[in-house]
């Protein structure tokens, strides 16, 4: 049996008196893909930020890639690729400059920068400042950034926002399911697209007002159960 890449038990996180997450439990095997559904404000982004070590959990146990959060968060840093609402890129810098900066922070060589630039199909515009690029282009650079260190865990908050279908296809080698069984890629994806999300998922988590409303294997989950979450 493969070990768990993400184990969460009874996770709670509040902002002041507002409960953003309450009693959330997840168990995700290495190499598996969990797709998280839920209406705006259900806690998806908070969950992803907790898993990325960007927010401290307030209660419960969180173990990511074998590291207990928040005490041992340093052990998982650099092994998690994160795509949030913000691209985490500097608008005044070019894609290449941005990625080189991130490569240095991640301890990755510049040759890898050129590799991911090519992989996201942005070589031609790698020398223009980011602010002059379209949102879809920026999203591609954000994907390249998250994939720089080829992390074993990807936390993706609506990764396909602003991307055309061809681009989604293009990015699969970087953030899709790993093609190499020896290097499994575990993924947690937040999505609003029931059909597309289900197609990618091994397991489905439905959040509503910070609590788990649905948790089941993707194979036995229907799209209507997911649309029900948004009602």
């Amino acid at each position: 049996m493969r070990s768990c890449a993400v184990e969460v038990e009874g996770l709670a996180r509040h902002f002041g008196e507002r409960e953003a997450l309450d009693g959330v439990s997840i168990s995700l095997a290495e190499g598996a893909t969990l797709v998280v559904f839920g209406p705006n404000g259900a806690g998806k982004t908070t969950l992803l930020r907790v898993l990325a070590g960007l927010l401290r959990p307030h209660a419960g146990e969180v173990r990511v890639l074998g590291a207990d959060l928040p005490q041992h968060a340093h052990a998982m840093r650099g092994r998690v690729g994160f795509i949030g609402h913000e691209p985490l890129l500097y608008r005044e810098l070019t894609p290449r400059e941005n990625l080189r900066f991130h490569a240095r922070l991640q301890g990755v060589g510049d040759d890898r920068v050129e590799e991911v630039l090519g992989a996201v199909g942005i070589e031609g515009r790698a020398a223009e400042p980011l602010r002059s690029l379209s949102r879809g282009m920026v999203q591609r650079v954000a994907v390249a950034r998250a994939a720089l260190a080829d992390p074993p865990l990807l936390l993706l908050d609506e990764p396909y926002a602003n991307l055309d279908p061809a681009a989604v296809e293009l990015l699969q080698p970087l953030i899709g399911r790993s093609a190499d069984p020896a290097r499994p890629r575990t993924r947690v994806i937040c999505s609003h697209d029931p059909a597309g999300g289900l197609a990618e998922a091994d397991a489905v988590l439905g959040l509503r007002a910070g609590r788990v409303a649905l948790s089941s294997p993707a194979a036995s989950t229907g799209a209507e159960e997911i649309t029900e979450l948004y009602r």
Partner: protein, 256 residues
Amino acid sequence: MHPMYGKGLRVLSIATVATMSVGLALVFFYAPLEEEQGFLQKIFYVHVPLAIVSLAGFIVGGLFAIAHLRTRDQRWDMRSYVAIHMSLIFGVGTLITGSIWAKGSWGHWWVWDEPTLVSYLIVFLLYVTYQPLRFAIEDPERQARYASVFAITAGAFVPLNFIAVRLSTAYVHPRVLGSTSNLPGPMALTFLVCLAAIALLYTTLCKYELTAKHARAQVRALRRQLSGERERAPERTRTAAPRLTAPHPSVGGGHS
């Protein structure tokens, strides 16, 4: 949650009132009139203790802030807040009594060549930004953490600032009243009793505020439970004061 919070408050209050009464009696009936300044000099028994106690309160607030950053226990932030907040109130008293004294003895409401007074003003101006800083940060945890960083920095600033200002001021005025060592006996005794009275007053007021804050947190928690916990929208009023969120027994996840 904290059933013991009002404990000792009654004893403390009585001790404060008693010491203050004794102090006032000593000031008016025991301590001799100062030769040069006459009756006005008696403001010294209020002004200097106020200044000392509020400065000590600022520094204690910084120490509590260190405890907060180390433990992440929001009760330390609450204590730090109350200490600084109360010191600010005592600080207003210090500046007003200081001005009156300056006007009486030197004829001006403000004098720049009294280093202690000037340093005090600078410290006061720094701490005045404590509340606006808290108020400008919405997330309560971040507010508490940033406030603690401020409180520690400002706490270290207090002695440093006194050194710098003290150095910068030529010793124009003879500092007869600077320390207790050169005070005549009855004056020193009166001063010490007044200092104790003001320190007790400070402690009592802090304790009252802490007790009230905890009681309010408990009431809010109970009300939340009664009204079905999560259905009720959380209070959205912004506040500069820290808030204890009662129903989280394991805040911080139980690490050491």
